[in-house]
Amino acid sequence: MVLATSETNRAAPAPESRGTPVRVEHLDAWYGQHHAISGVTFDMAPGTVTAIIGPSGCGKSTLVRCLNRMHEVTPGARARGGVLIGDTDIYSPYADPVAVRSMVGMVFQKPNPFPMMSVYDNVAAGPRLRGWRMRRAEMDDLVERNLRRAALWDEVKDKLSRSGAALSGGQQQRLCIARTLATDPSVILMDEPCSALDPIATYKIEELIRELAHDVTIVIVTHNMQQASRVSEHTAFMLAGDDGVGRLVEFSTTERVFTMPKDPRTEAYITGRFG
């Protein structure tokens, strides 16, 4: 079923992008009886960064978790609607959540490298968990390439066999990004990736996000509005109504959202009047 998308929520593609477009259509999600988000509709152009902002409990995390079918991992959680990654409707009855997650990578709020694995094995974990058959040299190459993409190689090249948990918080988060990149996703979801990090580590991750946006489509949930304005082309503002259901209030270019928001609630939020 193809549903009409409102024109205002459509993003212009970046000209030379190589990522995959993402289209969200009338997405609803529940936790048991609780209706968490309702009727979320917007488009992401390939190779752009979209920030999702909004106060706590407005359904930002739920929304991104719906984009790679991680939402349903929570017992009792379900979602309905359309999410198109490229041409694939990931909520079609034929879509396999495991295959969906191999197209759409995810970086979590708290860095979560596998503590019993080395730095090397953490990066190699995705290909191995998916059963890719690779020779040692190919794997070495893949690990190095993705640690470089995550701007971590120079810091860890001499401690590849150390535990991933022994790195600093910021390094751990970049290791998690390298781990996600290693499976070659076309979309990466980041759920407040910097909220556990100090400003310098945050700066490095933001730089990295800009760099990665050349190849992949990125969605970043953030509480930090400066961060949203620094890294994203488009911004989605979400808000939970009096009924506790999160809805998309405004979606536009980041510049517009921060300079001349259409909705008074967006303006109230970005000027710090609530939330």
Binding site: R101, M106, F108, N112, F114, P115, M116, A125, R130, T183
Partner: protein, 293 residues
């Protein structure tokens, strides 16, 4: 770091720790320490007494020969020692994978609905007197399927004792694995069974090994169910379908006899049993550590 000690008068009276409260604190800490000391003292007393009484019985023959008839000097507990190892191997091979699998099912697949009944059943089984388990296995295997006393029946009865121990302990440690690691692995596009096998179990490795060690240690010391299943055997045997000796049975036989020489041997066998359990535990840890890297 260096902090100047404040003169006591500088602290307002309402912030000074009341002396009665301080005394209560001391008394309670003292009682806690005493309780700890008492439990350690019992352990030390048992171990040292077993060592003191057991060591005189030990010599090469004790480990390499079979028991001799009364009056004949020498002889050892070799069949029982081998039997205990065989029984530990059979029961471990049955109970450790089964217990781990049950724990995985409850924690990873059916968290809500099955956890309570399965845990209740496990609790009931671990609450069953081991002699009752022995009688049950005797009725079904010794009188039934196998038709006579056999090492296999002994192994099965020990496994029945071990499974709930393994399952309960592994269940606890699986619950300690942070959900964020499961989500990280799922988000990498891993199928669920691989997430469990390659991420959850390795993360919980230390706890899983502890579960196995606890269960083996508990089972290796059981006597009652073995009397009805493995029976005991004074001759060397590793045949799973024949009766087999075990150190606890041997200790029991020697200890209830009226002969001083056999009493000494009972102490010796006790010491050997304690050491064997320690070695099995250590070996499990070493093997499990090597498999990872």
């Amino acid at each position: 770091m260096a902090m100047q000690a404040l003169p006591l008068t500088a602290i307002p009276a309402r912030h000074r720790v009341a002396s009665r409260r301080r005394v209560t604190e001391r008394v309670i800490v003292g009682l806690l320490g005493l309780a700890t000391l008492a439990s350690i003292a019992v352990l030390v007393a048992i171990l040292s007494y077993v060592i003191v009484r057991g060591v005189p019985a030990l010599n090469i023959d004790f480990f390499t020969q079979r028991p001799r008839p009364v009056g004949e000097a020498g002889g050892g507990v070799q069949p029982a020692l081998v039997g205990t190892l065989v029984l530990a191997a059979i029961s471990g091979l049955i109970a450790i994978p089964t217990g781990i699998a049950a724990a995985i099912f409850v924690v990873e697949y059916r968290s809500g609905r099955f956890a309570a009944p399965v845990r209740f059943a496990a609790e009931l089984i671990s609450g069953l007197p081991s002699i009752v388990i022995g009688v049950f296995v005797w009725a079904f295997l010794v009188r039934g399927l196998i038709g006579h006393f056999a090492a296999l029946a002994g192994g099965v009865s020990l496994a029945v004792i071990m499974i709930p121990i393994v399952a309960r302990t592994v269940e606890e440690v699986l619950r300690l694995v942070p959900n964020s690691l499961r989500e990280a692995a799922l988000a990498l596009g891993a199928p669920k069974w691989k997430v469990i096998l390659r991420v959850v179990l390795p993360t919980a490795r230390a706890g899983v090994i502890t579960a196995a060690v606890l269960a083996v240690a508990r089972a290796a010391g059981e006597t009652a169910p073995l009397l009805l299943t493995a029976l005991g055997n004074d001759f060397f045997s590793t045949d799973l379908l024949r009766p087999i000796g075990a150190l606890p049975i041997q200790i029991y036989r020697y200890a209830v006899s009226p002969y001083d020489d056999w009493h000494t041997k009972a102490w010796g066998a006790s010491l050997v049993l304690v050491v064997v359990i320690g070695i099995i535990g250590l070996a499990l840890r070493v093997v499990a550590r090597q498999r990872v890297r």
